[in-house]
Amino acid sequence: MRFLFKTSYLQDIRLVKHGGQAFWYGALVLALLAAPWLASEYWLAQLTFVLIYGVVGLGLMLLSGFTGLFSLGHAAFLGVGAYTEAVLAGAGWPFPASFAAAALVAAATGVVVGLPALRVRGIYLAIATLAFAFIVVEVFARWESVTGGNAGKQVQALRAFGWRADADVPFYFVCLAVAMLATLAILNLLRSPTGRAFVAIRDSEVSAQSLGIHLARTKTLSFAISAALAGLGGALYAHKLKFLSPDQFDILQSIDLLLMIVIGGIGSVHGAFLGAIFLITMPQAIAIAKDVLPPALGQAPGLQGTVYGLVLIGFVLFEPLGLYGRWLKLRTYLQIFPFYRRGMFRRQKSFLKSDRLR
């Protein structure tokens, strides 16, 4: 068990709180940097996907996990970023410029979608974003001169000022840099007034407003940042897949993204990446399981959907805080061994119970 003796307010503000964290996050960064030499080509590609989905997940986590606005159409922002990147890269823009443009176009789309969000909330907002996503996919399919329609669109390799990242390893490093910078930016935001304003809106709009938070502006900002991150993820996604078609950004993709943050752990930055790991490795795990399972079960159609559904139900029922919540409990168990007791994380029903009468 670690005891922190705080002697300065900066200790609470700093991102790395103690030596243990510095060690483990440092080790993680080193492992990620060394991954191209440690992992096979196949697993490196999977890791690249984890980073891409992690960036998109960060955006959705900011919107749903921290601002409390649920979006069932986040794949549309992913698509807007992907097509913007594909079109601009095709037009010969260098990567930094097209990448920034992808984020900006997605953010602008996010603002447009964010406007109805000022009037509706909860399930109605989810439905509004869902409807928006259908419109966007329809635009991808019909605007053939730009998007190539249902026939799809080839994406050129990532290029910037004479440098090309068409091989897997350079592209992996681009994704790693983007994921790390995006994480850092989100962490910075969350320890600043803007991030706290998001949390305030999630927990109580009326008191957020009475404390001077402009609800419309803050919600729109959350939508814009979230969509921008989805757009960045989309741009990387376009280069990774090298081929785009409208059906990649349909409702199933949106549900996958939401599933990712719920399973990862809603309301935690870790959750975005843990969810991405789950989302990417699950199909592989199911493919491996298919060989082991008896043919009647293993070859049954819809196995993947069933497993996803079961896992989601399991998390909602038993671990609403997702993989990150599970990890927190495991860590506490190890830290205070053997004093962990059941129900340590259970919320007390303390309403109307007074401090001194307990």
Partner: protein
């Protein structure tokens, strides 16, 4: 003395119900002014009108010499009016410290860019906000709850946290909606003590809604009794308690 808050002939109708009907009163700088009245008298509605959650059908509200009704709801805190809620409205899934830091929102000086990169300016602003918050924590003796998540706190502590959050905005006028409801005798005594402290040490004017007449008599300078949205009596706590209209509103007509 000058009136800090002046409410003039204020009325609001919800459909056919006149929730507040022609209410006028002045709150002087530095006093504790209490609204009392039976349930449904319109006390909380007056609060919601002052914090601009509702728009009145008629009447004027003037705060520190400027009309309040021209302002948007989110601008009220910046003018120096903070409030608490009858059914505690804290940010449940955040820690006490985070709740109080959100209370510093009107004092933010950083923009989005400096926050994304967490520049030296953002860092300095965070430390300054923390120092301001720590002064409130010390005043209200919240040290041992500092890092607790609000959802895990008992009711009495939440009341204090909500008061602390309102104080973090550094208000000129604080609106307390039933500060002692749900508190035990001892906690209620503490509350009376803090209300007195706020006025004496911080120079904050207090407008509150309260049912506990012991607390009301202990801290209030003036009391306004309301019933069915209308004013019944205005005066010192003792005067208002003796007023026949007030007695009738609470106990019914004498047999």
């Amino acid at each position: 003395m000058t009136a800090l808050l002046s409410v003039n002939d204020l009325s609001v109708r919800f459909g056919g119900v006149r929730a507040v009907d022609g209410v006028s009163f002045d709150v002087e700088q530095g006093e504790v002014f209490t609204l009392i009245g039976p349930n449904g008298a319109g006390k909380t509605t007056v609060f919601n009108l002052i914090s601009r959650l509702y728009t009145p059908s008629a009447g004027r509200i003037v705060f520190a010499g400027a009309p309040l009704l021209d302002r948007a709801p989110h601008e009220i805190a910046g003018l120096g009016i903070a409030r608490t809620f009858q059914n505690i409205e804290l940010f449940e899934n955040a820690t006490v410290l985070q709740n109080l830091l959100i209370g510093r929102h009107t004092h933010r000086r950083t923009g989005l860019a400096s926050e994304l990169f967490f520049t030296a300016k953002a860092r300095a602003a965070e430390v300054a906000a923390r120092e301001a918050v720590e002064r409130v924590i010390e005043l209200l003796e919240l040290q041992h709850h500092r890092d607790a998540v609000v959802a895990s706190l008992p009711y009495g502590a939440r009341k204090v946290v909500e008061l602390a959050r309102a104080l973090c905005t550094e208000p000129k006028l604080i609106l307390l909606d039933e500060p002692s409801s749900g508190l035990n005798v001892e906690e209620s005594d503490d509350m009376a003590f803090w209300i007195d402290d706020m006025r004496r040490e911080l120079g904050i004017t207090v407008l509150m809604v309260e049912h506990d007449m012991t607390l009301v008599s202990k801290v209030s300078d003036r009391v306004l009794a309301m019933n069915h949205g209308q004013m019944l009596a205005l005066g010192s706590p003792a005067e208002v308690q003796r007023h026949p209209g007030v007695v009738e509103a609470y106990l019914g007509e004498p047999a």
